[in-house]
Symmetry: C2
Subunit: 308 residues, 2 copies
């Protein structure tokens, strides 16, 4: 079963964006910058730092330009930001972002409620954004959400995700991130969709983005890994969720993913101790316990396993 | 990857024993009996109801005989109890138990600290207990703990578990349950051990017993299932842990396992709604939130997915 595990996996850290956007406590720009700088020092190679979304949608991220401007750029880290439309793209460009992420839903109803557009309208808007971004040699990834279930529609046809993936990769984006927005994916559904996708695209062109709502995120990551996927989205501490999916909670925690990968001798480049320090720091910042199980167990595990 | 998933999996519920033995709040005999009766009504086919351990070791289970006597026996359910030695066996026999479970560690130090005996001494004591129990036609399973890591020794040689398994099955027990007592198992370690075991014994002779300390229990269950294992130990709500393993916490939650299995159309015979009702009931009884993620997400998921 594990002959095919990748030797190296890229963790795509979404905590500063996907995590903080759902926190109720106001976080100062300076603290966001410190948070990202701490993450940059853990060995993570991809960090999504903010969203250039309209401040009226997500007030918590209204200082996106300042955050992106003030962080200390580490040459080993790819910094990206979410961009909802052409206005967002111009703000991202203004502050020198080299990588951006767009988002769309596999479910028509979820897309409509999320951005008040049909999927077709969103793709049309994407086309302009992608064209402009590629002209400027930006790297572009696209989040496809509600891939394994929608809070409004229930189950979602995997063909929707496959079609969207092909359309978007053909336009020149480098990767889709397939999201289990409400955390209901069955491991064999994940396998079936990925097996179909990987007949047509390379493993590097697809990332997985699981929520741990029902505790299955690591099982689903394992399925993805065993099929050759090498990019996993996660959020430090398990910070965040999706504000447009009622009841959805919990990106898989970065430290839980990294600890599982390291337990199997899969490299991530991430220093788990530094990650835990950063997770504790941001837990104190947002003012509540973070859901990561590895974080909770860390102290006793260290004690139990000596230097391991 | 999933061609080999079993169609039907047996859940071996350990909540009344492994769960309650670690609860600090006093639970009355009547409430324990009600708890077990509720579990019997969920469709579970195996329930470990108590431990005939010395009351001075685990005061919470000192009413073992009364509990085993007072529960309403459902013909569809196998009721078992933990038995630490010949005295415990006699108590189990006195109250008509047909199935018993013994326990031993794969780690010498953990075994010594747990029962103040070496592994060899424990096996010697087992031999007498097993002989007597088989004479009475009791079914016997054995828990092997610290299979994937020990709080005192660190890593544990898989050969220890393989040797113990062979010795015990040769003596006539029907199943070993291999336990990740401190919740550190790497999914590929689980695969390697099971692959070796399954060269020599049948899948029905081995159950898996994972703790969710680092969030990997469901991933490890999935690995076991994909290798043909058909018995999973779990504890409703995630109740319990191991009192002799510092920092160890959290049997995998029955509802998390059952929900994952049902999501993949693997049958368990368990009614998930009844299980959730029972989990809420016992959560109120022990007076604290239980760790099951499915339990926490249940209300919103129902709302989101309609009748699914």
């Amino acid at each position: 079963m594990f002959g095919k595990l990748p030797k190296q996996v890229t963790i795509y850290e979404v905590g500063p964006r996907d995590g903080l956007q759902n926190e109720s406590r106001h976080i100062s720009t300076q603290n966001k910058v410190t948070f990202i700088d701490k993450l940059s020092d853990t060995g993570l190679s991809y960090i999504e730092v903010t969203s250039f979304v309209s401040p009226k949608w997500i007030p918590q991220l209204s200082d996106a330009v300042s955050v992106a401007h003030d962080i200390k750029r580490n040459d080993a880290v790819h910094y990206s930001a979410l961009v909802p439309n052409d206005e967002g793209l111009e703000r991202a460009i203004s502050v020198g972002m080299k990588e951006i992420a767009l988002f769309i839903s596999a479910s028509e109803t979820h897309n409509k409620r999320n951005v008040n557009k049909t999927i077709a309208e969103t793709l049309k808007e994407f086309h302009a954004v992608i064209t402009r971004a590629l002209d400027l040699k930006l790297k572009i990834r696209v989040y496809i959400s509600t891939v394994f279930g929608c809070p409004y529609e229930g189950s979602v046809d995997p063909q929707k995700t496959i079609e969207l993936t092909k359309i978007l990769l053909d336009q020149g984006i480098y990767q889709v991130s397939i999201g289990d927005t409400i955390g209901v994916a069955a491991p064999n559904e994940v396998a079936r969709l990925l097996e179909q996708l990987l007949k047509q695209i390379s493993p590097q062109q697809v990332a997985v983005h699981f929520h741990d709502t029902q505790g299955r995120a690591l099982a689903n990551c394992l399925v993805a890994l065993s099929l050759g996927i090498t990019t996993i989205d996660s959020s430090i501490g398990g910070l965040g969720g999706c504000p447009y999916a009622p009841g959805a909670s919990g990106n898989v925690a970065t430290e839980d993913v990294v600890a599982m990968l390291h337990s199997m001798n899969v490299h991530t480049g991430v220093d788990l101790d530094k990650l835990i320090d950063c997770s504790r720091w941001v837990g104190a910042l947002v003012g509540h316990e973070l859901p990561s199980k590895y974080l909770k167990s860390h102290r006793s595990v260290k004690k139990q396993r000596g230097t391991q």
